[in-house]
């Protein structure tokens, strides 16, 4: 890595080398049985240079080929974007705990045992359900060094466990599921099974949603599948800079219901997306995005921040290309109303757990529309059964402007988001 940096410095004003190595061990169950055990070793090195003021970029899996990597980066720098930033010098990083050596030492056989127990708990509840389950342990090492002396290095462990069950009756299919992840080993299969069992119970009967505007409760999973994609696009500093974010001109203004607060926080201990610094070596920080309905900040990397005349929020993330602003871990502040009380409040309405296809429309504009893959009908304060053949459509900016209540119990969804349920007064529903 040092050799790559050294060679790159000879031909460019500034250079940065980013190295990630990872080892993953996923264990897969199909049709209630163990099917696959895998090990994946990977190495990737990325070189970013600034040459004659322009950015050049190249990646490779072969760390020993410094010459090829530098040549590739130099070719792209001929017409790369003008670099508006300086790489960070040596900086202290906040202590963020993300490594637990216990993850590495878990034996594959222990993981397969956990998977078998998890499946047994779900099939024990509903004997004809067919489950797929996956458990995975991963260790990641990351290192960044740059020509201004900046250097960052950390090691992370991740353990995840999830299950999806399919129940087929005639041509009717019901999909249930739950997954959790952490930097610690997860062992509580009962907690995951309980969520699935509850979904199975609520979905036992079928109900029909009328085609009209209805009050809706988004469960934490529902919030993740319907509402977060448009918000992520809108708070991306890049979208703001381009003038394509509906929130771009709204900094400091109350755009959402005052009950709604959203925070980007990469410093929470032992969360899979936490980290001491971002992918450019900028220290991690907590960034409030919405404070009591008011737009508080956007997320920036170095380049976007420089163009927008502001500071990086330590939000650079690399998905194989140059760093881009991206959220780390999102937290929606819990409210005061229990889920049960929200349901009790509804005369006729829906509970949405999972929307399918909601992220396919005009996300930038805040529109979402999706088939209710898992959702329930509420009648006179009670969940009466599962709805099907139902599509809901809305716009997050209209929907979150007026919120009836925010749940008192927050939950991790997909590792990235911690959110309570959100109860909204009206959403357009169409059904067969």
């Amino acid at each position: 890595v040092e050799r790559i940096l050294e060679q790159a410095r000879k031909v460019a004003e500034a250079a940065e080398v980013f190295l990630v190595t990872a080892e993953e061990t996923p264990v897969h169950f199909e049709a209630n049985r163990l099917k696959h055990v895998q090990t994946k070793q990977s190495t990737s090195v990325a070189l970013r240079i600034i040459k004659e003021g322009r950015l050049g970029y190249a990646t490779a899996t072969d760390v020993s080929n410094a010459k090829g990597l530098v040549a590739d980066a130099v070719e792209t720098a001929r017409f790369g974007t003008r670099a508006r930033f300086e790489l960070p010098p040596t900086t202290p990083y906040p202590p963020v705990e993300i490594f637990d050596p216990a993850v590495e030492t878990i034996a594959t056989a222990e993981m397969t045992d956990l998977g078998e127990k998890l499946i047994a708990l779900v099939t024990g509840h509903t004997s004809d359900i067919i489950c797929e389950a996956a458990l995975e342990k991963e260790s990641i090492s990351l290192r960044i060094i740059n020509s201004r002396g900046g250097q960052a290095e950390y090691k992370k462990s991740v353990f995840s466990m999830g299950i999806v069950g399919t129940l087929v009756r005639g041509t009717d299919m019901l999909f249930v599921g739950e997954g959790q992840s952490s930097c610690h080993p997860l062992t509580d299969v009962g907690e995951i099974a309980k969520v699935v069992q509850r979904q199975l119970e609520l979905a036992r009967n079928q109900a029909i949603a009328p085609s009209q505007t209805l009050p809706v409760i988004f469960t934490p999973e529902g919030v993740a599948s319907a509402l977060t994609s448009p918000l992520l696009a809108a708070f991306n500093g890049k979208t703001v800079l381009e003038g394509a974010s509906p929130l771009g001109q709204k900094l400091g203004k109350e755009v959402f219901d005052s009950k709604f607060s959203l925070l980007d926080d990469p410093t929470i201990a032992y969360r899979p997306y936490s980290r001491p610094c971002d992918d450019e070596g900028v220290p991690s920080q907590r960034t409030p995005l919405i404070e009591k309905g008011v737009v508080a900040n956007f997320l920036y990397d170095l380049q976007t921040a420089a163009l927008a005349n502001t500071r990086s929020t330590g939000s650079a993330s690399r998905g194989g290309g140059l760093p881009l602003p991206s959220p780390s871990t999102l937290v929606i502040a819990p409210g005061e109303v229990s889920f049960e009380d929200m349901v009790k409040d509804i005369k006729e309405g829906l509970v949405i757990e999972q929307l399918m296809g909601a992220e396919q429309g005009n996300i930038l504009g805040g529109d979402f529309s999706g088939n209710v893959l898992l959702g329930y009908k509420v009648e006179s304060g009670k969940i009466v059964g599962r709805v099907k053949n139902t599509i809901v459509s809305g716009n997050v900016y209209q929907l979150l402007k007026e919120i009836n209540a925010i749940g008192s119990q927050a939950k991790w969804v997909g590792g990235l988001l911690n959110t309570p349920a959100i109860y909204c007064p009206r959403l357009s529903v169409a059904s067969k």
Binding site: V37, T81, I130, F175, Q360, I391, S428
Partner: protein, 457 residues
């Protein structure tokens, strides 16, 4: 750089000696480049190289799999794959019989690699300038990528297959704003290696930019059931989502109830409905000679005259269902084992013009182009990039983009007109089991679906 040819020769010997029911290895070297624009400025340009491989072992029905970039110590990795398979295996291994193949396919065209980055950029600059001549546009995204990869497949039965693969993709989208309203329009293209398909798109780019600006003034559809006409691009996405995924045998083979639902001979649609998946058609993005288990590509009828007649298989699913292998096991790259995937999936043309198809629709929706699609097997959704009302047999006002949804088991039966204008959409990438975007193509003539549920205000 490590030569994967040499590594494969060493590995071939090791595979033949090992004690597992079956072992295979795939080695891969690839080179890619990308150029992307956001707004007026070039956002990112980069190049990458990768070398890697995997070994997959089958013991008593259980699979072990290791993938790696580091090509040293392959014997240890081989041991590990076999040990993992042993840990899993408790039954008997079943794989459909396939003749071992020794074949080296020479690349006809590696065009994108021989074209300098500067020339690719020049073309994209032209497109970006066109977008920026359009009024009301706020920003744009142009993303170009190409890759060339050489794969060597070998297995314990003596197969040795070397295949090259070149893939090019381009996505153009334009974003228009007005106060806090934001609307977007876009298109995507792909090619199996012919860079010329990326040239001469100036008119399409201009039309896309204009569409985005026009959408700002378009009304939202009222949600509900409509007679819907799909253009070939969107109908291609529809056939992929609404039926293609359900015909992948890995969803079915171990689920007794699904096997009963998906029994061959079951009626899914009208007499005129024929659905095909074929990697054997040359030159499309889903085309290949051999799949990632070394099985020759085939043309598979999934639906013939409205009846289920076939499905897509890996060697294992074919054996377990007692059907013939179809050569549909694909992996997105060396980091993943192959799983059952579609290739080029399409509805066969019947006849009839677009005007005929919409002639007797009093009130309906014409949906074109695509944002995306997804399926749960039973239910599917897909979203149109453009939509228009149809009134009294004629196209009427433009609408905001719409999302359509349906039930696989009823919607195919509601196709009541199939046109003659088959067109293949090469711009798609399919996701399954964490493997995305896999190059596929899909297509159809114009089709009409009665009673289709469409989301709206």
């Amino acid at each position: 750089m490590t030569d994967i040819g040499e590594v494969s020769r060493r590995l071939a010997e090791a595979l033949s000696k090992h004690r597992a029911d079956y072992i295979e290895a795939r080695l891969e070297e690839s080179r890619r480049s990308h150029i992307s624009y956001r707004g007026k400025e070039l956002e990112s340009a980069g190049q990458s190289t990768a070398v890697g491989g995997n070994i997959r072992a089958l013991v008593k029905g259980g699979w072990g799999f290791v993938s790696f970039n580091d090509l040293t110590d392959l014997n240890e990795r081989l041991e590990r794959a076999v040990a993992q398979a042993r840990l899993v295996g408790k039954e008997t291994s079943q794989l459909a019989d396939v003749e071992p193949v020794v074949d080296t396919i020479v690349n006809g065209k590696d065009a994108p690699l021989t074209i300098p980055l500067a020339e690719k950029k020049q073309l994209l600059d032209e497109y970006n300038q066109i977008i920026w001549r359009t009024p009301h546009l706020q920003t744009s995204v142009i993303a170009y990528g190409d890759s060339h990869k050489r794969t060597i497949f070998l297995n314990s039965a003596g197969s040795y297959i070397e295949q090259p693969r070149t893939d090019i993709t381009l996505r153009v989208s334009a974003v228009a704003t007005d106060n806090s309203e934001v609307q977007q329009a876009g298109f995507s293209l792909g090619s199996r290696g012919d860079f010329d398909t990326m040239r001469h798109l100036h008119k399409e780019v201009e039309a896309t930019a204009r569409k985005a600006a026009k959408l700002l003034a378009a009304p939202k559809l009222k949600g509900g059931e409509y007679t819907v006409v799909l253009d070939p691009v969107l109908a291609g996405v529809f056939v992929h989502e609404a039926f293609g995924h359900l015909s992948e045998a890995d969803h079915i083979y171990e689920n007794e109830r699904l096997r009963q639902i998906m029994v061959l001979g079951k009626k899914f649609g009208g007499k005129e409905l024929n659905i095909i998946d074929s990697a054997a058609v040359p030159g499309l993005r889903g085309s290949y000679r051999y799949d990632d288990e070394g099985v020759p590509a085939t043309k598979t009828y999934l639906i013939k005259e409205g009846e289920l007649v076939g499905r897509l298989h890996s060697r294992e699913t074919a054996a377990r269902m007692g059907e013939r292998p179809t050569g549909n096991a694909r992996a997105i790259n060396y980091r993943f084992p192959p799983i059952v995937r579609m290739t080029n999936t399409y509805i066969e043309p019947v006849g009839g013009s677009f005007d005929d198809i919409i002639a007797d629709i009093k009130e309906g929706v014409y949906a074109k182009n695509w944002f995306g699609g997804t399926t749960s097997m039973e239910m599917f959704t897909f979203s149109a990039g453009e939509a228009y009302m149809i009134r009294n047999g004629k196209l009427a006002e433009a609408l905001r983009p719409v999302v359509l949804t349906g039930n696989v088991f009823t919607t195919l039966n509601n196709i009541d007109a199939i046109g003659g204008d088959l067109d293949m959409n090469q711009g798609g990438g399919c996701g399954k089991g964490g493997q995305y975007p896999l190059p596929v193509s899909n297509g159809s003539p114009h089709i009409r679906i009665s009673k289709c549920l469409v989301g709206g205000s």
